[in-house]
Assembly symmetry: C2
Homo-oligomer: 422 residues x 2
């Protein structure tokens, strides 16, 4: 067992671990010999399972998940018209979130918009006010990019609750997902309208019952903005803004205005309800941060995570999760299996994309003791995920947006995993 320890907490050096053949730990049931000895736990069984003995069922024009995975769904929390659907991150592998499980926040429900009735208007400080219908927009050049999307208020419970709540990862931090977004670079449309010299900001408004509107700096929209029409290869779903939404890679979810119908070029921000109130951060000294758009560097361990149970004491496990930053690529992720005393570099699984989930993993031999697992991401600009106490020291007690502190999981002696403030 020539496996090299990477830290004191049982994290393993990857190459030596793979050379060991994994047999040290996960150890599948042996078949032949065990069967000969009458080991009931490891029967060789039939080589012809029942499913091979009959014709299978038909398929459907639009496929659905396995009925055996019916528990893998989003969970809703709701306050009057405001509802949040959190993605079950603890069930996700890889970096792409399937459309059916992508998180969503609705300020006043999901409007039903017939695409042939919908238009996008660009007006205000422009040379030529323009209106686009869907048929026209679908003829424009498009780009396709894989990006995460995160609600400004994701992980609010960890920011606000005095004690760590024993929830699943999805219920704690599931207002983030990652998908391939395809649409029209906004610069094409804004250039066609012709921006006047005085135009510096753009008010983006959704055609929903919440009349959701946000002011965004024109320069950023010209560089990165997209009118997104497709998500993971198919047209946006109603929940994601059908027939179109604004998309700003890396920026807090609510500025990616869904059901987009109007872009008004203006000389200064409008200070709409949501940008002067809900989507601001109150600092410790009472000052308020507004228009703080990019989401911070962050990571979460998805396996193992809250409410999961490690089935085998002294067993091998792969610690796996994802990291992301609203400012660029992930440079590294460190993992601790001893509550932050020692850290080891996790492997990043490619492709490592700009402002997208990056999957990380590291092998771990659990020693059977109570311990705490943590992950800490660093992005290519050098931003590092803070501890919870460092984050709390910056913001007022009731502030919760842009919470990106290290997520810690306590592993009990019996293998149960639980949210903790380490």
């Amino acid at each position: 067992m020539n496996v090299v320890a990477a830290t004191g907490g049982g994290l393993l050096e990857r190459r030596s671990f793979l050379r060991s053949g994994l047999s040290l730990s996960v150890a599948a049931m042996a078949t032949g010999a065990a069967h000969a000895q009458g080991n009931a736990a490891a029967p060789i069984g039939s080589r012809f399972p029942d499913a091979m003995k009959s014709m299978g069922a038909g398929d459907a024009p639009y496929g659905q998940p396995s009925p055996y995975e019916a528990k893998v769904v989003r969970t809703e929390s709701r306050t009057a018209g405001f509802s949040v659907w959190r993605s079950p991150l603890q069930e996700q592998r890889g970096i792409i979130t399937p459309n059916g499980l992508h998180f969503a926040t609705h300020h006043n429900g999901v409007p039903d918009i017939a695409p042939d009735q919908h238009t996008l208007m660009i007006h205000g400080l422009v040379e030529r006010p323009l209106k686009f219908d869907m048929a026209r927009l679908l003829r424009y050049p498009m780009v396709n990019q894989i990006h995460f999307l995160e609600c400004a208020g994701n992980s609010a419970a960890n920011a606000l609750s005095l004690t760590a709540l024993d929830h699943t990862l999805g219920d704690l931090a599931g207002e983030v997902s990652c998908a391939e977004w395809t649409g029209i670079p906004l610069s094409y449309l804004l250039n066609e309208a012709g921006i006047k010299e005085s135009g510096k900001w753009v008010i983006a408004e959704g055609a929903d019952g919440g009349s959701h509107a946000r002011s965004l700096p024109l320069s950023a929209l010209m560089k990165d903005g997209m009118v997104a029409l497709y998500q993971n290869g198919e047209r946006l779903r109603a929940s994601q803004g059908y027939p179109m939404r604004l998309f700003m890679p890396g920026w807090e979810g609510n500025v990616n205005v869904k059901w987009l119908h109007r872009l008004e070029v203006v000389d200064a921000p409008a200070f709409t309800k949501d940008e002067s109130g809900l989507y601001t951060q109150v600092l410790k000294n009472g000052q308020i941060e507004r228009f703080a758009f990019p989401m911070e560097v962050k990571s979460v361990i998805t396996h193992p995570s809250g409410q999961q149970v490690l089935p085998q004491v002294h067993g091998f496990y792969e610690i796996s999760g994802f990291a992301w930053s609203g400012r660029g690529r992930i440079a590294k992720v460190e993992v601790s299996a001893d509550g932050g005393d020692t850290w080891a570099l996790a492997q990043l699984h490619g492709p490592v994309l700009d402002r997208a989930f990056t999957r990380f993993s590291i092998p771990w031999q659990w020693q059977g003791k109570k311990t705490v697992l943590m992950s800490r991401a660093t992005d290519e600009l050098g931003h590092v995920q803070p501890s919870r106490s460092a984050w709390k020291s910056r913001y007022a007690a009731h502030s919760f947006n842009h919470y990106n502190a290290i997520q810690a999981w306590q592993v009990d002696k019996d293998g149960r995993v639980e949210n903790t403030y380490a």
Copy 2:
């Protein structure tokens, strides 16, 4: 209008095209002025569409596509138990195919397999025959990779039909899709079993009513093979092999054995039904190619494509499509808008991944004349997509697997697009 022509067929040089502001062609409806003049075709309309005046609907735990996109589904063709579900490629943008639209081929229907009843057995020429249940497999280290998957028989109609069939792209060539696959490198499991010196091939068998089995070279499985458990972030669907399938990046679909339950290490191929019959290629001289696994370099234009209609004569269009190769990355895609007389380089949209769809596009000014559009992909190893006649000259008249010839679309004067053999 300083737009530079890239070819004689109306293809445009991209940078000069973008500098032109696109106003040359797609030209959205002007609002203000047009409205003042009472131009009924361009009303400014209300700034408050109906959807803004009421609360929207609720959302669902597992989301579904917009009802307005109900036509975007797979189409089935069926012969007894053998059924093929083709993906509507002409509706896809970007590179990721959503799980609901991923193509599928079933040899004898879709089995219903309870995951807690399913096991994977590795036996034959191994030191330790092993059996894995799902709980064990889910603890192994996993990798996540974006790859296309293509049926060996994709585009069979173009290979076999004497006249070009007037079908949509999906119905012609929709047995290919691209997704993020996550699973366990097969080398981990094979190493744990311990391969005997004499072990050279592996028979992979599915637990379906078709008893589908294929022989694969051990060396390739050790290098690239994966036991795939997740597709686009969620567990495989029944149609894709739930609870597990073999995945071999770039190799013809049927060797990616679905409902995988048995891997038998052997010293020579088994010559199963499907590898000595259906999934072979007959050459012009009567010789038979067997075990030709990687799918060839190929591309298709998705927009515009078969049965679509260009709405505006002399209008601007973006020609867009995807390219892929079972042997590596796409190096370049050339597009012709004059039936192959002249070719221009298309833009490749990143990320350009190994054995994955790569999206390409090029701007095009349609001159309103009957013409033929074509795309020709080259991979990083220098393989080039052949013409149909070159492909046909290599294979027997009734051979149809691994068809990768250039797909040509005829554009009629009225803008209708139709499959053609150019």
